[in-house]
């Protein structure tokens, strides 16, 4: 009887490809060899670590040190300084808001680019990267022409808190689009057809099948968006007018601390921005990997 072969547990498990999922590696027995490093691989790892240290780790460590070199009280005073606290809050809130809007708009644009064929598609495809490719000072100027004092639309955001949000929205536009687009393009259309044939409406299919498949890409895009938003400087310089307690963003505070030679305070703000961006990245990573293995 042919079913016997399928029933046999040995043959049933034999062909299972090992999946390198995160949860799986945890279950791997610890007693086995801990590394898979061969000699060339070890060398490559050594070079990578050295490179990474010189470029990233050591400067970061020095930054951390200089943020507290005048003592913890300076660190704390800097962060509780009214003007600085306002700038940090404005930057974080604007970056979060821009990320949220970009998640929706980016997904929408990616969807249109991948799924629809229409005249002028190539133009949009080309334009998406402009905010990213432009020097951000130029980006500020571009925005100023449409949303500045001479706005043909009569919308002037110059010097308002909204200018920060707008500037971040502009410079972070490509991230979600560009991370989601390839994944969406690779999605097997049969999977959607399968969901439809099982009775799922379009909305249900999007919610239960497509979005979960896009979650890692969306998360990656959002992280990039947020990190870039927190650090944006050039566009803000032009558009926000740097009005203390109104439209001044955190990177400007770093700039002005450096101008008055207060390195410790500058480093403090920098460390906070850095920590926020890192935390966001980690959080997203943890959340999406849980989602994937639920």
């Amino acid at each position: 009887m042919p079913t016997r072969a399928l029933n046999n547990p040995a043959s049933a498990t034999a062909g299972i490809p090992f999946s390198p999922g995160r949860t799986r590696s945890k279950r791997r027995p610890r007693s086995r060899r801990r590394t898979t490093l061969t000699r060339p691989a070890g060398l490559a790892l050594g070079i990578s670590v050295l490179w990474f240290s010189l470029l990233v780790m050591i400067p970061l460590a020095l930054l951390l040190i200089s943020s507290v070199e005048d003592g913890w009280s300076t660190f704390w005073d800097t962060l509780t300084n009214v003007q600085t606290a306002h700038a940090i809050r404005l930057t974080l809130v604007s970056a979060l808001a821009a990320t949220a809007v970009n998640l929706v708009m980016g997904l929408l644009i990616a969807w249109v680019l991948v799924r629809d064929r229409f005249p002028g598609r190539w133009l949009i495809e080309l334009m998406i990267d402009i905010p990213f490719a432009l020097p951000s000072l130029v980006a500020g100027l571009v925005l100023l022409s449409l949303y500045g004092p001479e706005s043909p639309l009569g919308i002037n955001v110059l010097g308002t808190p909204a200018s920060v949000f707008l500037a971040l929205l502009f410079v972070t536009l490509p991230f979600v689009v560009r991370t989601v687009q390839p994944v969406l393009g690779e999605l097997d259309r049969d999977v959607e057809r399968a969901a439809h044939s099982l009775g799922a409406s379009r909305a249900t299919t999007v919610r239960r099948i497509i979005l979960p498949a896009l979650t890692p890409a969306l998360a990656a895009g959002a992280t990039l968006c947020f990190a870039r938003g927190v650090g944006e400087f050039g566009a803000l310089v032009i558009l926000s007018g740097n009005r203390p307690n109104i439209s001044e963003g955190a990177p400007m505070r770093i700039q002005s601390y450096i101008e008055v030679d207060n390195t410790a305070a500058a480093a403090t703000v920098a460390v906070l921005l850095l920590a926020t961006a890192l935390t966001a990245t980690l959080l997203v990573e943890v959340l999406t990997s849980q989602e994937r293995h639920r």
Binding site: P2, T3, L6, P17, V191, A195, S197, L198, A200, R292
Partner: protein, 336 residues
């Protein structure tokens, strides 16, 4: 009730993918759509599944006109060549999907999923992700998922196409057994004639967007309705102006009426079967041009009885109504 297809036509731009398709599939049957690549099998199956709309004609599933009904409302099960698994869901969740969409009570979903996993022999794999299954197991999961909603019709597009030969054969037998248990009206697409003849109880042969013939595997094989079916379904060899199956060529050592002299240029034994390549001394027909060697298929017993060896001079002729069965021959280029 089954499936009724009336005068269905489908074009893509200026290309006609399906031309005036008329077909009636009995309920509870296992029907194969067989044809070469590009013959329109998938297009027809998609029209049945509501993934493609015909330009003209109508489709009835279980007596209901579904021509303009979206896939969601057709109550069909669809199985895809490349599994179309919901990769972020466990096997059990995959199977449960259709039931959950239908808002079935949780306890009932759990029971039904368990039942189906047992049916497809994946009861121990419910907690795995599809990526942790082999191809054959993945396709069985897809089958369970499709069957979960008690579809009135099960549609399968080259369900074994992505599997290797051995698993394919296993799964093929298994599908037939499953069909005997479940008895849902099923249509599967294949371009493998052996698969169609072995698994299906009705075979629909398609070519260039048309149906060439509908029949049981025996009818299709023994009485092909067209030159195309004849050539597509099994091996064909030429004898003068005739085309016939290699096993319908009779070999004798002495001349008989209608036989023709030739020489065995190759003799191959494959298990219990012996294949000969015979070069005729002259063309038995009047088509002109070089006559290709005649291929002959014999049982080993037959071959031994005649003591055939390579380079032997022999006589061949089309077998006449052997074993009470009409030998099917077609004129070369006779068309439909």
């Amino acid at each position: 009730m089954g499936i009724e297809i009336h005068h269905v036509r489908k074009t893509f731009g200026s290309f006609t993918a399906l031309e005036d398709i008329r077909l009636s599939v009995p309920s509870g049957g296992l029907t194969a759509l067989l044809g070469p690549s590009g013959s329109g099998k998938t297009t027809l199956l998609r029209i049945l599944g509501g993934q493609e709309e015909p330009d003209a004609g109508s489709v009835y599933l279980a007596g209901r006109d579904v021509t303009r009904l979206p896939a969601q409302q057709r109550n069909i099960g669809f199985v895809f060549q490349h599994y179309a698994a919901f990769t972020h869901m466990t096997v059990a969740k995959n199977v449960a999907f259709g039931l959950e969409v239908r808002k079935t009570p949780k306890a009932q979903v759990r029971r039904r999923v368990q039942e189906l996993l047992e049916l497809v022999q994946l009861e121990r794999f419910g907690d795995r992700l599809p990526a942790q299954l082999s191809g054959g197991q993945r396709q069985r999961m897809a089958l369970a998922r499709a069957l979960a909603v008690d579809p009135s019709v099960l549609l399968l597009d080259e369900p074994f196409g992505a599997l290797d030969a051995k698993v394919r054969k296993e799964l093929r037998d298994w599908l037939r057994q499953l069909h005997e248990e479940v008895h849902v009206t099923s249509v599967f697409v294949t371009h493998d004639q052996e698969e169609a003849l072995e698994v299906a109880d009705t075979v629909v042969v398609m070519n260039q967007g048309r149906i060439e013939q509908v029949g049981t595997p025996e009818e299709i094989y023994d009485h092909p309705a067209s030159d195309f079916v004849f050539g597509f379904i099994g091996e064909v060899t030429r004898f003068g102006e005739l085309r016939l199956r290699p096993h319908d060529v009779e070999v004798t050592l002495d001349p008989e009426s209608g036989s023709h002299p030739g020489r065995i240029t190759r003799l191959t034994r494959i298990g219990f079967e012996v294949r000969l390549e015979v070069v005729l001394d002259s063309d038995p027909g009047s088509l002109g041009g070089a006559h290709p060697p005649v291929n002959v298929q014999l049982s080993r017993t037959e071959s031994q009885a005649l003591d055939l060896q390579q380079w032997d001079a022999i006589w061949v002729r089309p077998r006449a109504a052997a074993g009470g069965r009409e030998v099917e021959v077609l004129r070369v280029g006779a068309g439909r």
